[in-house]
């Protein structure tokens, strides 16, 4: 269905587009509360077990973590570029941008998989011959690590699906320079997934590592 179709509850296309964007912003607010609860738990336990947390942070693979940060930031760039192409009516380059974004997203997941494999090899999994067993805080850190990165990966996977969806719609010719709201809505979501990572990255890899 072409994006120019306007629901009967809307006055015009503009009304519909603006409303869709407000809806996505509101949804992102709920996501802030969702991840926020996890970050809050992290903060409490970090205050209680600073040693354990620092020990765990020192074991995190900062190379992969930093690479992944660069990958995600670049993917936000490619998708935003796609949005600008859509606004300019260049649907072909929009599709290329989507492909690049998906590729980078998959690269993130591959790097993450490598990192998990290394974590398992180094026995950094609580409950299974845990390498940092004499640090209570480390065990809780790894709860946070696996939960946060796991939930983040689920969001990333959904994001990849959404980008695929808009690429397909673009290919079908659903979008015009005036009517391409799904691209912007998905762009917001993708950027949010990126921002969540920007919070997770220092908490997992950086804080307490030096000094």
């Amino acid at each position: 269905m072409a994006e120019t179709q306007v629901g009967m509850q809307y006055e015009d296309l503009r009304h519909q587009s603006d409303t869709a964007l407000i809806g996505m912003w509101l949804f992102l607010a709920t996501e802030i509360l969702f991840f926020g609860a996890l970050l809050f738990t992290y903060m409490i336990y970090r205050l209680w077990y600073p040693d354990g947390f620092i020990a765990a942070v020192r074991h995190a693979n900062i190379l992969i973590g930093t690479l992944n940060t660069a990958v995600l930031l670049t993917s936000s760039f490619t998708l935003t570029a796609g949005l600008l192409y859509a606004k300019a009516g260049d649907m072909r380059r929009l599709i290329y941008s989507c492909v690049a974004t998906i590729g980078l997203g998959l690269l993130f997941m591959a790097l993450k998989a490598l990192e998990y494999a290394e974590d398992f090899r180094e026995r950094l999994v609580p409950g299974t011959n845990f390498a940092l067993a004499d640090h209570d805080g480390a065990r809780i850190f790894y709860l946070f690590y696996y939960t946060a990165t796991g939930v983040h990966l689920v969001h990333l996977a959904i994001g990849i699906g959404l980008v695929l969806y808009i690429a397909r719609r673009a290919r079908r010719g659903d979008f015009t320079a005036q009517a391409h709201t799904p691209v912007e809505v998905v762009g917001l979501y993708w950027s949010f997934v990126d921002i969540v990572w920007l919070f997770l990255y220092p908490l997992i890899y950086l804080v307490g590592r030096g000094g």
Partner: protein, 309 residues
């Protein structure tokens, strides 16, 4: 056996009842006002009633400010009254009779300092402040004595304290009031408040072979604590004489007081509060020592002259 208006049987309980009945009086007044006005209006202004409805009050501000302000003032007063009593509810007076309580699925175990143990029963003297140091062996329970108007959750891994002073003799219900599994409703018992002479008789009759501290001394040997903490040991371990109540400098720079909680955690999870200047070699006894035995060990550590088993 409690009647309909069972009077409170503890000093603070009596105060709680005063506040309760004040709230009851206020609530009844407000309720009478609300129901009264409602009844008045629906009768007076029912459809078909020829009463003159006249001009409607346009400015509602005065009423709104009035009842908002009145509510706020009233609530503030109620808050202060309740908060003051609550603060005193959780501040035991000095010199209380101190007992230990362990809650576990599905029974209450109580230990007297002289070594008497009870299950699902608490014998105490009247007109004496009693302080309970409580913990749980498993899930969260709650130690409640409705007649004393007191209760508190009992948590695993933590010590919680309540206190009360019974004002009359008799038998009063003891209930677990935090849902704790299948036989939660069976985790009940009786508090037997006795006169001082009767209480002494009970203590003598129940006299155990050893006091709590002596039992703790035996455990101190059995679990190998003396291996490191006796004066003759080659391992460098913090000395325990006179430790209770004194400040302990920790490795991370903080200083904590060696109270019941500290001693409990030092045995169960020594790695969380390592003492400054000592090697981190003490093993954790988590899961190996029951909570009631921990009470005994701590009683031993608290005792001035360490009693030999």
């Amino acid at each position: 056996m409690s009647g309909w208006f069972a009077p409170a049987a503890s000093s603070t309980g009596v105060e709680t009842d005063h506040l309760f009945w004040a709230l009851m009086a206020i609530s009844s007044a407000v309720l009478a006002l609300v129901f009264g006005l409602m009844a008045l209006y629906v009768v007076r202004y029912r459809a078909g009633s020829p009463i003159d409805r006249g001009a409607l009050a346009e400015k509602s501000w005065i009423f709104e400010i009035a009842w908002t302000g009145a509510s706020l003032l009233l609530f503030l007063g109620l808050f202060v009254w309740g908060a003051d009593l609550y603060v005193r509810l959780y501040q035991p007076p000095g010199g209380s009779l101190k007992l230990n309580v362990v809650g576990k699925q599905w029974m209450w175990k109580i230990e007297h300092p002289a070594g008497q143990r009870e299950i699902n029963a608490l014998h105490i003297p009247v007109d004496t402040p009693v302080e309970l140091l409580m913990t749980s062996e498993d899930v969260i329970h709650d130690f409640a004595i409705p007649a004393f108007r007191i209760k508190h959750d009992v948590l695993p891994g933590r010590y919680e304290t309540i206190w009360f002073q019974a004002t009359r003799t008799g038998d009063f219900h003891l209930f677990c009031t935090q849902f704790c599994g299948t036989d939660h409703a069976a985790m009940i018992g009786w508090v037997d408040v006795m006169t001082q002479p009767d209480y002494q008789k009970w203590l003598d009759a129940e006299a155990p072979s050893e006091t709590l501290a002596a039992a703790g001394a035996a455990l101190f040997q059995r679990y190998g604590c003396s291996g490191c903490h006796a004066g003759t040991s080659t391992v460098k371990a913090p000395p325990l004489d006179g430790l209770y109540g004194s400040p302990v400098p920790l490795e991370d720079g903080r200083t904590v007081t060696a109270d019941d909680r500290y001693l409990h955690d030092a045995i169960i999870e020594p790695s969380t509060e390592r003492v400054a200047g000592f090697p981190p070699v003490m093993p954790s006894y988590a899961g190996q020592i029951r909570e009631e035995d921990l009470f005994a060990l701590i009683a031993y550590l608290k005792s001035p002259a360490k009693e030999q088993p």
